[in-house]
Amino acid sequence: MAEEANHGTTATIDPGPDQVIGPHHDFETVTEKISGVVFMPLRKTPLQLFAAFAFAFALVNVFLVAVTWLLIRGVGIWGIRIPIAWGFAIVNFVWWIGIGHAGTLISAILLLLKQDWRTSINRFAEAMTLFAVACAGMFPILHLGRPWLAYWLIPYPNTMYLWPQPRSPLIWDVFAVSTYASVSFLFWFTGLIPDLATMRDEAKSGRIRRLFGVLAMGWRGSAKHWARYQKAYLLLAGLSTPLVVSVHSVVSFDFSISIVPGWHTTIFPPYFVAGAIYSGFAMVLTLAIPVRRWYHLEDLITMRHIECMSKVMLGTGLIVAYGYAMEAFMAWYSGNPYERFMYWNRAWGGHYWWTFLLLILCNILIPQALWSRRVRLNINAVFVIALIVNAGMWLERFVIVITSLERDFMPSAWNNYYPTGWDWATYFGTIGVFLSLMFLFVRGLPAISMFEMREVVHSMEPTHAHGD
């Protein structure tokens, strides 16, 4: 009950685009406010959260049905057909894994760059990474046809005397994605440890106290522990920074190492990494804007966070636009008839020309509105643009995967790809999985890092603002 009262008394005032935290916060109020979201009685949970969770959970059930049918009938229920063997599974894989990258970028790279607006969104973004990578990982496994044999991808001594092929980018992917998932989990959990200790000490009921106590592992905030903790955290950030670049580079190698027209280009790694961050920031915004409103966290996730994320989105979007331009230029400049035909077919002549048009509209034209400060400070506009970018980045992967595979070298091998209802069901199903996990996370664990917010509060205090 005490939290409730406090939750009510702490006014949620968005301090505007210059402040990372609202006024009148001290160590106690940030703790109350962030842990209050978790300790809120179930019936006090915002109705919107219940509605959103119900929607997401319905999609989870769609996903379960789609996967069950897939296991019964095989990948033939999808629209894949030779030569378009990749289809939605790989489109969605690349999309999800790209979304995850913003979480690592926010928590690792912005930590190294000492960005003050990182703090109240990093935990949230890390959780997003974790769940996005979980969704991403399901697609290549389901796409195997016999997913229960997925462990064959791992090198282990076996009675068949067979080993995976380490020259293949698909095996690099196995290592890159599994490492990325593990490291993202470590990063997220390490960041949570001191906050789990806070939750343990704040919990009123014995069972919840024990649960958080076990998870906090006896953390007591000793100065010696903090010293090792900070060192380990910094090293994790330092290691995750090249990791995140390597993961999406390896994903792009899946394409660029092959000789398929439209895939075989050196621009792919940097352009994929920028695209990943672009879509990831869009997803952070898509989730943070409603959550901050439902839980009245406007004084912790302020317009400064929203504006900074919009700027990163604009910047990475421009890199992506450069990537598109380079693809077009190289198709022409290479003088290769297959490359030239591919580009003409992708943008103009093929039956999916309209996806390319939509892609340019969603990823390049509409986000240019973010140049205007008025748009960046308009929360609804930013939300809509973030949704559009999410869709645009999905279209980008669709265009790359589908239009290239449909028309490769020999016209006799060409074919058209049409996604089936099961393709859509699996895709929307993973969105449901992702959102359900996100909403459960926001409800069950501190979604904003409390100990780092205390540091922010302390550095904001007027007596400490200068000097130390």
Partner: protein
């Protein structure tokens, strides 16, 4: 008489703890305590405080060395595994490339380095901190639950050669703390 009580209380005590409302007084107190000759002391804070570990005389931070060695091991292991697979266990010529086509092994080598280094960073940090630890005496102090919220604690442990229940308490009280408490073992 006096020596008897002193011995008895030393057996019963884990240490003496002072609480502060802000990190700066704690930092100053920790520096004072260290310069007074106390060595078995620790500070407990709800957030990292810069310079605090230094102030209580904690220098050996071995995390980075462990992580460096783990990174090298991971890289060597990753490359070794790829070499062993493609040159020794399953030599198989693909597209006329040499068996040891090392540039193709670099992504996996890198991932293995990161994986092992990150696990070592976290597990090593927890192990050196002695976590998970189901019991610690500092939790016997009632107000210690605020150490994860808004209070800053300095604890001088009874195992310190310079520890004396009376003199140490007087010393802590001089530091202008909010409260000085006894920590049951």
């Amino acid at each position: 008489m006096l020596t008897e009580t002193r011995v008895a209380s030393q057996i019963e005590l884990y240490g003496l703890m002072a609480s502060f409302r802000q990190p700066e007084p704690l930092l100053a107190a920790a520096r004072r305590a260290h310069s007074e000759g106390y060595r078995h002391l620790d500070a407990y804070t709800p957030m990292p405080v810069e310079g605090l570990a230094d102030a209580i005389g904690f220098r050996s931070n071995a995390v980075s060395r462990f992580v460096f060695c783990a990174g090298l091991t991971g890289a060597a292991g990753g490359f070794g595994l790829m070499y062993w697979i493609s040159v020794i266990a399953y030599p198989h010529i693909v597209a006329g490339r040499p068996l040891n086509s090392w540039p193709a092994y670099i992504p996996i080598t890198f991932e293995c380095m990161v994986l092992l280094a990150c696990f070592t960073a976290v597990i090593g940090m927890l192990a050196m901190n002695g976590l998970p630890q189901p019991y610690h005496p500092v939790f016997n102090v009632d107000s210690f639950e605020r150490a994860s919220r808004d209070r800053f604690f300095l604890c001088i442990e009874a195992s310190d050669p310079a520890f004396d229940p009376v003199r140490t308490r007087r010393f802590l009280e001089q530091l202008d703390p909010e409260e000085v408490m006894e920590v049951a073992p």
